[in-house]
């Protein structure tokens, strides 16, 4: 929906574009249209420094849009991974005996910290740290995490004591601590310098940083606002890599992953999105479309106040057609809702949904806003359902997805699933070129929670071709599936 709008916008408001197929912005846009966000960014970003001033604005706008989609997607992936990881580690940790995984305690602890449960996390991390069979490096990592648990549980003294005891000679440990310092705002510990030092050490020894290191350094860079450095580091990383491979005999190998990598990527892309859209908004040639996206981007990754300011300015001054102003009013109302002006917000959405009954994309935008801020919008839902009931299939993909998203926010899984299924292009059911990957991730999550594992895994299998970091979700869900599957062992000829 929005990507179609953006294509329109760029053509309208960026007449300075070179329209040849070789133009980096055009190339990136084509990839963006296919939802190949990572390829699109990889194609455009390196070209940015050498592009003429007249095209810089358009390039920043394009990059901002690409990173916005990426950030939203990775945020969703992070939530799914975190949820599936906890399921998987819980099952693994229930095992007893000699072949029980040791590292499940470390990774369960880390997943629980991410899930905001430092108390429960500490139990696992203490168990792991007390295990005499593990290497000093991993014990140190667990102690660093344990310190974080204490810190988050408001026992800062205990956290400091633990952190001070840790030997930071190993770069893995050093950057883990740096990441934790960054997370709790300890600028005095200079987390960026710790990371730089570790990277230099790794370079000297010609070792590529592990994915755990990459994740930790990205986390530090994000919090220090060093977006470009984060993106540069990511360029050389294998997002598919496991964080740790535990070998428990010849026939038992478990790969562990960090869900927080996906969360950090989401934050990194969110920052990149804001940075590029702000630059684009400073360029008169693309100011209107840049502000159009910036309003939403601030609400998603920045501040509601900034979002409100940009949307107000856009509505007042933009030369864009009314349909775009209407959309931005939807987001403006969402800002109001979050600021406590619920009645005003719902009133605006209601008015817009009446006014534009024939515009299913606007209705979809309203429903997505309702879902995002967890607002009750029954009348709008009713209108949307009427449109879906009477309208024509393909034109209503976005509205079906939005309805699904609304029901998902309301925890009505069966309705969410049927709406999203209705919004899926079934000819290419798992292809991101035909289906918004955000919708596919939500649908996969619904399948997973309803134990339709193979459907969920099929979605991620296709998605992994463009977004390699989803490997962690694939492996984790496979693990849960292997433990949950119940069948007799049948196979038949088709």
């Amino acid at each position: 929906m929005k990507y179609l709008a953006c294509v329109f916008l760029i053509f309208i408001f960026a007449p300075s574009f070179a329209y040849s197929a070789d133009d980096p912005v055009m190339r990136a846009m084509k990839l963006y249209e296919k939802r190949h966000y990572e390829e699109a960014a990889a194609a455009l970003r390196p070209e940015l420094p050498s592009m003429g001033q007249s095209r810089q604005g358009a390039a920043h706008l394009m990059l901002g849009m690409i990173y916005m989609k990426s950030a939203e997607l990775y945020r969703e992936l992070y939530q799914e991974s975190l949820s599936a990881s906890q399921d998987y580690y819980k099952k693994l940790s229930a095992a007893r005996g000699q072949s029980r995984s040791r590292f499940v305690d470390l990774y369960m602890g880390e997943a629980l910290i991410e899930a905001g449960k430092p108390g429960a996390a500490a139990v696992y991390l203490e168990k792991f740290a007390a295990d005499e069979g593990i290497s000093p490096m991993y014990r140190a990592l667990a102690k660093a995490d344990l310190g974080l648990c204490h810190y988050l549980s408001n026992d800062k003294q205990k956290a400091e004591t633990l952190w001070n005891e840790i030997d930071t000679t190993d770069p893995e440990v050093s950057v883990q601590l740096a990441s934790i310092f960054g997370r709790v705002g300890r600028k005095d510990k200079n987390p960026v310098a710790l990371c730089e030092l570790s990277l230099r050490e790794a370079k000297k020894s010609r070792k590529s940083p592990s994915i755990r290191m990459v994740k930790n350094i990205i986390s530090v860079y994000v919090r220090a606002g060093l977006t470009d450095k984060g993106l540069d580091l990511l360029k050389h990383a294998d997002a598919r890599a496991y964080s740790y491979r535990e070998v428990l005999g010849k026939s038992k190998v478990i790969n562990f992953y960090d869900p927080s990598l996906l969360g950090d990527l989401s934050m990194l892309y969110g920052q990149a999105c804001l940075a590029h859209l702000e630059k684009a908004a400073a360029d008169a040639t693309v100011r209107d479309p840049a502000e159009y996206y910036l309003g939403e981007a601030y609400a998603l990754f920045g501040s509601i106040d900034l979002s409100a300011k940009v949307t107000a300015s856009f509505i007042a001054a933009s030369r864009m057609p009314q349909q775009y102003k209407d959309r931005i009013r939807v987001w403006q109302a969402a800002d109001q809702y979050q600021k406590g002006r619920q009645t005003d917000a719902v009133g605006i959405w209601d008015e817009l949904s009446r006014k534009q009954q024939l515009d299913p994309d606007l209705l979809a935008e309203i429903l997505l806003a309702c879902a995002r801020v967890r607002a009750e919008c029954p009348m709008i839902v009713k209108r949307a359902e009427n449109v879906v009931e009477s309208g024509e299939g393909k034109k209503l993909y976005a509205l079906n997805f939005a309805l699904g998203k609304y029901y998902l926010a309301k925890k009505n899984q069966s309705k969410a699933m049927s709406c999203m299924e209705a919004g899926r292009d079934k000819s290419n059911k798992n292809k991101i070129e035909s289906n918004d990957p955000l919708m596919l991730v939500d649908l996969a999550g619904l399948y997973y929670r309803n134990k339709k594992f193979s459907e969920a895994l099929e979605i991620y299998f296709d998605m992994s071709k463009q977004f390699p970091a989803v490997r962690q979700i694939q492996e984790t869900m496979q693990g849960v599936y292997a433990m949950e599957q119940k069948s007799a062992g049948d196979v038949k000829i088709f």
């Binding site: 134990k451 492996e475 062992g489 049948d490």
Partner: protein
């Protein structure tokens, strides 16, 4: 005291007599009974019993006609079916099933319905495991040591060893002791396989002259009478015609939509498209009995020679996914680190050269006077336009590397006899459908080579055998997963098949059929709950 006992016995007696009638009848869920559901199948089943059949069309029918001791619900929970409860010993080796006392077998014409008892369970197990019974099920139940009847409604299975998911394996369908003509073993010649009776929600009424299979609601079904009066399985030889039959309301449901027809059905608001059955894939299988195909390099060369993505894009509109090994991408056992062989004809030629083949005067590669010339057998029911193109493309790809392929289309039954019984083929094109156990033992274990067994290619590899056995013996899910990943990697390298793709699988049905839940493998497991509003029943 005696009086109390007498009253109690009388009550029990009454319960025994009345319970079938007390439980049977309407489901009392407020949904209407009535209507006929006509559904389209691509082809006809060879047999209709749950023991000898090895194809999906039969499986779907047997799901309507029979029950297992246990079932698996939509939440992947084991639920009671013919057994109302069970007990498992602490060591996981003994399973005692307490059977329902209110179940009767479908009555044959002019006969009284007979009660279902423990004898039927024992009978089913014994006939299934009899050496002369031709069934793919044996390999799945070799873990059972003994079965004994404790009383008319109690049976005990003792396992040779505890296994993972043992309870789920007792979902095998029970057949009546008075069913087969031969009480010792079951063959495809036994009248029972064409005219079976079961305990399930639907009774096989007749097979029409047009080979339509008509099933009627079982009024005495122990879970309550199913809502829809009649199910009719209509065979189609052409998938396009089947889609048109749905569009023109001649049928209400298609169990597997032709991928090319999805857009047409999706655009019509009368129908629902529902994804299911993600665990299937197509392949070219190589007969290892042919010494030329026994060379791994030859098989690998064939896989490098075919452009699978091009075939998928051209013949199936790209509606599927290329796979790298013996599991579907939706399976928990799929090894994500193994990548499909790329399309690389030069590599293919080089492998053939390494294997000692050189081009002959006619351009066909040969070694020691033996040409790389093979017969590819394809069942005629699968002679859809897309499949025809796939096999012809395969022939052309192989021609490019100096390999000659003769494509032979055969009638379904003849194809099955050539492939499963006589093993008279060089290459086959076929597809497997798996339940979610990812059990490939019947496909690749050397003990499964033999008449009517699934390892029809005759693949034998001690390492694979040993891993399959290890996978079956372990009680550790993660170990089983690791072993399966290893199996995936080995079989991808060994290339007994050219693993092709898994396709987009959708069922389609008219919205007049309500409350539809589809089992991802067995399809009709929950069909007794489906219904049609009274206005839609005509």
């Amino acid at each position: 005291m005696k009086r109390v006992l007498l009253v109690a016995l009388l009550l029990v007696g009454v319960t025994f007599v009345l319970s079938p009638f007390a439980e049977a009848g309407s489901k009392k869920d407020g949904r209407p009974d009535g209507g006929t559901l006509n559904y389209g199948e691509y082809g006809r089943p060879a047999t209709l019993d749950p023991i000898t059949s090895n194809e999906m069309i039969s499986l779907r029918i047997t799901e309507l006609v029979f029950n297992g001791l246990v079932g698996i619900n939509e939440k992947q929970e084991i639920v009671p079916e013919l057994a109302e409860r069970w007990e498992m010993s602490k060591d996981g080796r003994t399973y005692t099933f307490f059977l329902r006392k209110d179940v009767t077998w479908h009555a044959r014409e002019g006969e009284e319905a007979k009660p279902f008892t423990a004898d039927d369970v024992i009978f089913t197990y014994k006939i299934m495991m009899h050496p002369k019974t031709i069934t793919p099920l044996k390999v799945r139940y070799e873990f059972i040591d003994t079965v004994e009847k404790l009383d008319d409604y109690t049976v005990r299975f003792t396992l040779k060893r505890p296994i993972l998911n043992a309870l789920a394996k007792f979902s095998f369908k029970i057949i009546p002791r008075h069913g087969p003509a031969n009480p010792l073993y079951l063959t495809r010649e036994d009248p029972f396989v064409q005219n079976p009776i079961g305990t399930g929600p639907y009774i096989l009424k007749n097979i029409t002259a047009d080979r339509e299979i008509v099933l009627t609601a079982n009024d005495n079904y122990f879970k309550g009478r199913p809502h829809i009066d009649k199910f009719v399985a209509k065979p189609f030889a052409d998938q396009n015609i089947m889609t048109q039959a749905l569009m023109f309301n001649a049928i209400d449901m298609i169990v597997l939509v032709n991928p090319r027809d999805i857009p047409e059905i999706q655009g019509d608001k009368r129908f629902v498209l529902q994804p299911y059955n993600a665990l299937s894939y197509s392949f070219f299988g190589y007969n290892m009995r042919n010494p030329l195909l026994a060379d791994k390099r030859v098989r690998q060369a064939f896989t490098y020679a075919v452009n699978r993505q091009e075939m998928l894009d051209s013949f199936f509109n790209g509606q599927g996914t290329i796979i790298s090994g013996p599991f579907a991408p939706g399976s928990w056992a799929y090894n994500l680190e193994v990548q499909p062989y790329p399309f690389d004809p030069e590599k293919a030629k080089s492998l053939l050269r390494d294997a000692g083949f050189t081009p002959g005067p006619d351009g066909i590669m040969q070694k020691g006077g033996k040409k790389l010339s093979f017969t590819l057998k394809v069942p005629i029911e699968k002679e859809s336009e897309a499949v025809k193109r796939v096999v012809l493309a395969f022939k052309n790809y192989l021609k490019n590397i100096g390999v000659d392929v003769n494509v032979a289309f055969e009638e379904w039954q003849a194809w099955k006899e050539d492939v499963f019984l006589e093993h008279d083929f060089d290459i086959v094109f076929a597809s497997w459908v798996f339940d979610d156990s990812a059990d490939i033992s019947s496909l690749f274990h050397s003990a499964e080579i033999g008449p009517w067994k699934n390892n029809f290619i005759g693949y034998s590899n001690p390492e694979v055998d040993s891993l399959i056995v290890e996978s079956k013996l372990t009680l550790d899910h993660e170990k089983r997963r690791t072993i399966n990943r290893k199996l995936h990697a080995i079989l991808a390298d060994e290339n007994p098949y050219t693993f092709l793709w898994t396709l987009t699988n959708y069922a389609a049905y008219n919205k007049k059929v309500r409350h539809v839940a589809i089992h991802p493998y067995k399809f009709f497991s929950f069909a007794d709950e489906w219904f049609m509003a009274e206005k839609d029943q005509n």
